[in-house]
Symmetry: D2
Subunit: 326 residues, 4 copies
């Protein structure tokens, strides 16, 4: 099944992924993990909620943590170009039969809540409180020196469906894994902002959030984080890596927060702004697509993910088996 | 004079800077400099012309070298989103009274040639030959491991005029230097593709090309290039750096090719896709805007540039004096 | 069993490990591996033998490759301080009942051949041909940019015996792993030259050479090597890593040459010149001693090694089981 | 004048440089500089004195800061191999007519105080309090991540005299700069511990301490320090660099503490344990000996140094002029 040609004139203009909101069961533990170990900056906190941003971001937050009895994901949020795009988005989703509502979100303007083709909650806004630059306040840097949120990755029961849906709203495929036997997609990476992805989709029980990624300057920052986690009680939170993905060419590390939300630390992908950029195809049986250097991913990485609060998942339609560490 | 608000709906869609064409007086010497020392990949060459691309680029070329009796710059070229944008561009420039013509350029489709507000030659195309990816062919990497062309920087006689003109066609200002006494712009950085700049403008006799920049993965690649140049006969071609710019936060090095065309090697700037990104203002009297670590730039860096072939320059209107190394 | 206090006045002065000699079954394949991929410099070659040095070494060679029908290790060689030390060494080994002979080795002066407490062949010399410095000839650097040979690591059937014997000739223990149940040593790292080790010993069927290590400047050089090997047909030769050892604190990668000789690429250990440096003790049950970040080593890493040509091995006396990747 | 052959059997065994003691005029300001910005660890402090160590050191201190009305240097201290070497040193210095005395120094055993050929105070000890390892307590790392003290560099009025004197007590020359016209030494680098130097000498009014150097893992740590200093009020304390020395091949940065004591941050030199290592000769007129990449050092770097408390200096005998930044 060929990758559809990119939609050059989508119905509304999504600029980039913006942020996500996690429910966490121990806010103090999550605070320590994200602020002290990873080095995200707290921009607002109260007894039950913490907002954080990365070092080069001027928007108020890229991550919201909410204390709740159960861990989960509230929504994935995207920034649109201007207010007109927000209204166009509302019309488009409504026309497609997706429920739409306007919700209140602190520190940001009018916010549209709707859902994707699997019912996963999506939010859109055009204006968020802007904060002064801190990327040159070097005394604030700590941990892995996170610069910005980079992408979401989701388990979905049908990747072909995901690519078709997100393609309609302008997400362009940069790389994908095909199951040679069935011609079905196993995974796909799609972007708006000019990197390898704003959101990727992997075959699996879903919809669930597989991971949220943060961009760092160099592989040495990731090595610093590994050293720090390994000697401050977080060695068990290191799940996979460091390594280089064949897909995306990124240098990566996967870690787990105290509730098991998976975070990728990521650098070194490439620029994808050309609308005629050809997607790169990988074979599901090629182990180098996962890790260029050959090491397979652990089973947990293929199986575990964060649920969207209150949302039922369904099993993957494609039953192919990736290469898993023995 | 305040920076104008960005044009959210420009008359046509420029994706990014694409490439430039240099005339050089000793093609073999230039070939050695760009291919062997810097590590750009030759994609086509004949007796009088060489085309090169950087490692993550899929377009056929980001630099053209042409053997000629005099060194100069043929044009600065930009990629537009689709063919329709090319025709819109032709109409817009013609309506503004700028001459337009359609020119033949090897390895690319229909190409519009026109000029900017100072008469500097601009070219636009929407389709260039696409080449297979080589970013993971690691045996090909050498020199500084250049990943992609990043930006142009031009001397212009009036930066306010430049920002107004380029702003109309969608270039958004990310950072700028103001002369506090007159309120005039000394320099400005403007972008299309989501980094700090596709093209920057500096007050000076112009229009002339100040430099062309290539993006590399980490500061260590720049250190590798310095070591290589210093021990292969190119120590005199190192002009300024390494250092970190206050403006753009980039880690930089400036070097000169055998004809004196200035090349910047560059990493570590930040993402600028938000349309409401606030430009950062710097004072002309702040030496840290040039080099965050305090070292002033040498006089040559403020004075020398490459001329556009056949084009007259005029003196800068603003007579302020930047801080120059003694 | 406590680590013996270091011998402050050994019977002769060993400066450092110097080199090893491998028999290889396909000299051309080994040449490509060591010279083209790793980046060692060939200092002499003929039809059956290749001598190589690393970039900062002035001695003629740190590795000798000899074409033979079977892969093996000829000897481990050490440099002594002066000619007098060579004669003292001959006397000392003879007095201990170890056979000694004077052998001819190209490019080096008088050479003593003897054996250690397990019969493993050791050679000593005081003078080797000195070559001009090349560490600043940056155009010669390639592959992982190897700077110098760093250490040997051997499987031995009794690590307590190894530490006692090598201690008598001045090797000082820097770190060690103890089997808590028996109080026996599982592994020990011993040095002469002021790093964590010139030679280490690990419990196992032996004597066999576990690996030979080369020192590189930074972890990024190791990442470069991984990328290069992964995309030039050597992905199957990557055995373990990258990672950081708990023991030694070094950033490491283990790779296999075409005959299975194991090479470690290594950086970031620490200075150990103080004679009163306290050895650091690790528990065999602590997985972070192997990899600070928690990943266990693969089974092959615990089992495979290179035999010394013509030498019988015997089983390890200690039957403890390290933590092995499932 | 040829470099003398190294003394293979010096009268006593110096292991390495150990530490220095600075008088400072504002202890709180110095504390902030060395502990908060550079990242040295405080091991003891009271109202008038602070002791610090670097991250991989097990000895109690590598730097002592003492509040006094005037800034100066109390002494340069060295560690000897064992107690017997301390007594041999006392005898040797006394026999040479240098005054010797036994002094009390907190946290270390018997301490010999004497002076070198220019009257500069030297101290020797064999035992200092040993502290638990902290090199793997990664949460403690900050600033430039200093691993260990590396070397001293002194202005002396006659470098030939210095090399002859220090050579007698076992310091071996690794590199040197000769004034071609007179055949006199302009500068020399001499070592005990197996790096390029424990102490270097430069022609100039002296004896004065030119700088004290600390070893860091990679050039990126030096870039981190520059960013930190540049944005926390220390931009004026950056004197020279970053760059690579031709001599020693080290990547360097020179900074000034609040009293003007010069500190070098340093990485990437090479191993020098071979007793037959040939010294590398540089011509005083070769600008690449200072900075491989060509940039000359500023005048302050050639002129300013720290005085030894109470000690008169005299002018340099050699009047040659190095290349100085215009």
């Amino acid at each position: 099944m060929p990758i559809p040609a990119p939609t050059l004139n989508p119905p509304f203009n999504i600029v980039r992924l913006s942020h996500t909101s996690f429910t966490v069961t121990d806010l103090a533990a999550s605070r320590k993990f994200y602020a002290d170990i990873l080095g995200l900056q707290i921009t607002h906190e109260d007894d039950s909620t913490i907002y954080l941003r990365a070092m080069e971001e001027r928007g108020h937050h890229c991550l919201v943590l909410r204390q709740m009895p159960e861990a989960g994901v509230d929504y994935l949020s995207y920034k649109v170009w201007c207010e007109e795009d927000l209204d166009k988005a509302a019309s488009w989703f409504a026309a497609q039969g997706h429920g739409v509502e306007w919700v209140e979100r602190p520190f940001q303007g009018r916010t549209l809540r709707t859902s994707d083709c699997f019912g996963a909650p999506m939010e859109f806004y055009f204006r968020m409180d802007r904060l002064p630059p801190i990327h040159q306040k070097y005394e604030l840097y700590r941990g892995v020196k996170p610069l910005r949120i980079d992408h979401f990755n989701c388990f979905v029961p049908n990747v072909d469906t995901a690519v078709a849906f997100y393609g309609k709203i302008g997400f362009r495929v940069t790389e994908y894994t095909e199951d040679e036997e069935t011609g079905r997609l196993w995974a796909a990476w799609t972007h708006r902002k000019g990197g390898v992805h704003d959101i990727a989709f992997t075959n699996g029980t879903g919809p669930r959030l597989h991971h949220t990624a943060f961009w760092v300057p160099t592989p040495l920052n990731i090595i610093d984080l590994l050293d720090l986690m390994a000697t401050t009680g977080y060695v068990g939170n290191i799940e996979r890596g460091p390594g280089r993905h064949g897909i995306s060419n990124a240098f990566f590390l996967y870690i787990l927060d105290p509730d098991g939300h998976r975070i990728e630390i990521y650098c070194s992908d490439y620029q994808t702004v050309d609308p005629d950029l050809e997607p790169i195809k990988w074979d599901l049986k090629d182990p180098q697509r996962q890790t260029l250097w050959g090491a397979p991913a652990p089973r947990s990485w293929f199986e575990n993910g964060s649920v969207f609060t209150g949302l039922k998942t369904r099993e993957a339609e494609l039953k192919a088996t990736p290469i898993i560490a023995p």
